[in-house]
């Protein structure tokens, strides 16, 4: 009887080695981090007690605070999120067109577009807000621009991907008729990316509602300013009211977006 002299192996040696390297690097990084991170153990053991104390101070929630300042700030927050999402379209649509390889073929243009998209995404919205507060002073304008600049990378990248995935048949047909560039864009590309476009924008709006709630911590308007003020005054019951309002609005925004997206797709 013939002996089968090789084992079935799921991975090749190279795959095994590369996987092993990844695991090793991961473990080394973890061990190094745990050993060198500066954590005061007493703080850690104390944490549950301190948290219980904080939540105890938050109760009962100060509902009377809502009409005084939370309501107006919340509306402002929603306006910042919506306006920021609309402003971001001005920048992200051209960048997406530049980044989509089936619209612009030049690799230089791609790299320029990608540079802007990546830097927009790498800088956090809070950091953008800090920059814009330094430029325009504290207030809503800084918040709107921070939201807009942070969203450019997200919307631009996803929109470029959607553009690259379309079926080129109708575009080629339009080009063959000698249609001008604008007509090809509007009647060839746009109908195919329309559902993706609205779903990306709605998705980003949902994220922006969350983000605009915290911009006020660095002075860029919205509910964050109210939250920060009541926290600095140790008015924990008012803090709880602001948090509850943020929670309610975020959940409502998510439900709204999910329902609209279901109808779109």
């Amino acid at each position: 009887m013939q002996q089968i002299d090789h084992h079935w192996q799921r991975f090749t040696l190279k795959q095994k080695l590369s996987r092993f390297t990844v695991y090793l690097c991961f473990i080394v990084a973890l061990v190094l981090s745990v050993r060198t991170v500066e954590i005061i153990p007493e703080f850690f053991y104390d944490a549950p007690e301190q948290m219980a104390d904080m939540f105890g101070r938050m109760w009962p929630i100060d509902f009377a605070f809502y009409p005084i300042s939370v309501h107006e700030a919340m509306i402002e927050t929603l306006n910042i999120a919506t306006l920021g999402t609309l402003v971001t379209l001005i920048f992200s649509i051209p960048l997406a067109l530049m980044n989509a390889s089936n619209i612009v073929a030049s690799p230089w243009v791609h790299w320029i577009a990608r540079f802007f998209l990546v830097s927009s995404r790498s800088v956090n919205s809070l950091v953008w807000a800090l920059l814009f507060v330094a430029i325009f002073g504290p207030g809503v304008l800084a918040g709107v621009l921070a939201i807009a600049f942070r969203s450019v990378g997200f919307v631009g990248k996803l929109l470029a991907e959607a553009l690259e995935e379309i079926n080129m048949g109708s575009v080629e047909a339009l080009r063959a008729t000698g249609a001008p560039w604008g007509a090809v864009m509007l009647k060839g590309y746009w109908p195919q990316v329309k559902p993706a476009f609205f779903s990306i924008v709605l998705f980003r709006w949902d994220i922006n509602v969350r983000e605009s709630a915290v911009l006020g911590l660095v002075g860029a308007g919205g509910i964050g300013v109210v939250l920060n003020d009541s926290m600095n005054l140790f008015q924990w019951q008012q803090v709880a009211m602001s948090l509850l309002a943020i929670f309610a609005v975020v959940v409502a925004a998510e439900v709204l977006v999910v329902n609209i997206r279901k109808r779109l797709i």
């Binding site: 609309l86 330094a134 948090l243």
Partner: protein, 265 residues
């Protein structure tokens, strides 16, 4: 030619009919734009004045000042530590929480409350969670780690639960038929099916934690954000530029690494 120029008798049909719903939507957006700009007191003067400030700010930011690189490196290492530890803890916890939240493995009386918990983790922005943790466990890396653990659970556990819900049950039944225990069923039939997607989620979450770990410092939760915020408050804009460049470089480097890792798995 005469035949070509003659109008045909059939009704001219526009192949691109106007979609009144979409036109209405754009109109609403335009009206909203005017309303919100007016109601929030945004005006052109402030914007143009700000552009002058932006010029000055950029002037002071460049060239970036790397002379205090030790401070920068300390913050960077702390950010990395926060990101690594919180990703590991968060993803590890998410494995179990995701399993508990999957509706095909768990009865609804377990999965529904667990899903509620995940939604709660996700609905607050990391900065708000960071503030609460800073108040309860004090300044430093611990607050940052706890914050990002919560953020990771909110994201990974949800995706993981969805991945488990989508698996094929044939393999589960095959393993069950051998009389395997619950743990063996999970390890040998569920894990192989979801592992590669799980690596994808994990690298994505590490990416997101890395970005956020450079931000939670703004509210005192350790990492490069604290360095950034104090540089901002002392108007050391050239150092701010250096920090921002470091953050962008770090994230670009990780994007390069993560594509490498994803190719291996």
């Amino acid at each position: 030619m005469a035949g070509l120029n003659k109008q045909s008798d059939t009704v001219q049909h526009n192949p691109f009919p106007r979609n009144w719903w979409v036109s209405g939507l754009w109109l609403v957006a335009a009206i909203y734009l005017v309303y919100s700009v007016n109601s929030m007191g945004l005006d052109w003067d402030r914007f143009t004045a700000g552009l002058g400030h932006a010029d000055k700010l950029l002037d002071r930011m460049f060239p970036p000042n790397f002379s205090r690189w030790e401070l920068l490196l300390d913050g960077l290492i702390e950010s990395l530590e926060i990101a690594v530890i919180s990703s590991v803890v968060g993803i590890f916890l998410s494995l179990f929480i995701g399993l508990l939240a999957s509706r095909n493995f768990m009865p609804s009386w377990i999965s529904t409350p667990v899903r509620g918990f995940i939604a709660l983790c996700r609905s607050f922005h990391p900065v708000i969670i960071a503030i609460l943790f800073v108040k309860s466990v004090g300044f430093g890396a611990l607050a940052g780690i706890l914050t990002l653990v919560i953020a990771s659970i909110g994201f990974i556990a949800k995706l993981f639960a969805e991945a488990i819900e989508e698996i094929s049950f044939k393999q589960v039944e095959a393993i069950r038929a051998t009389g395997a225990s619950f743990v063996s069923v999970i390890v040998f039939s569920v894990m192989p099916q979801v592992f590669s997607r799980f690596i994808g989620f994990a690298t994505y979450q590490f990416d997101s934690n890395l970005r956020n770990s450079t931000m939670v410092g703004i509210v005192g939760a350790g990492g490069l954000g604290g360095t950034l915020f104090s540089a901002f408050q002392r108007f050391d804009y050239d150092f701010v530029a250096a920090i921002l460049i470091t953050i962008i470089a770090l994230i670009l480097f990780w994007e390069f690494l993560s594509t490498l890792v994803r190719r291996i798995f």
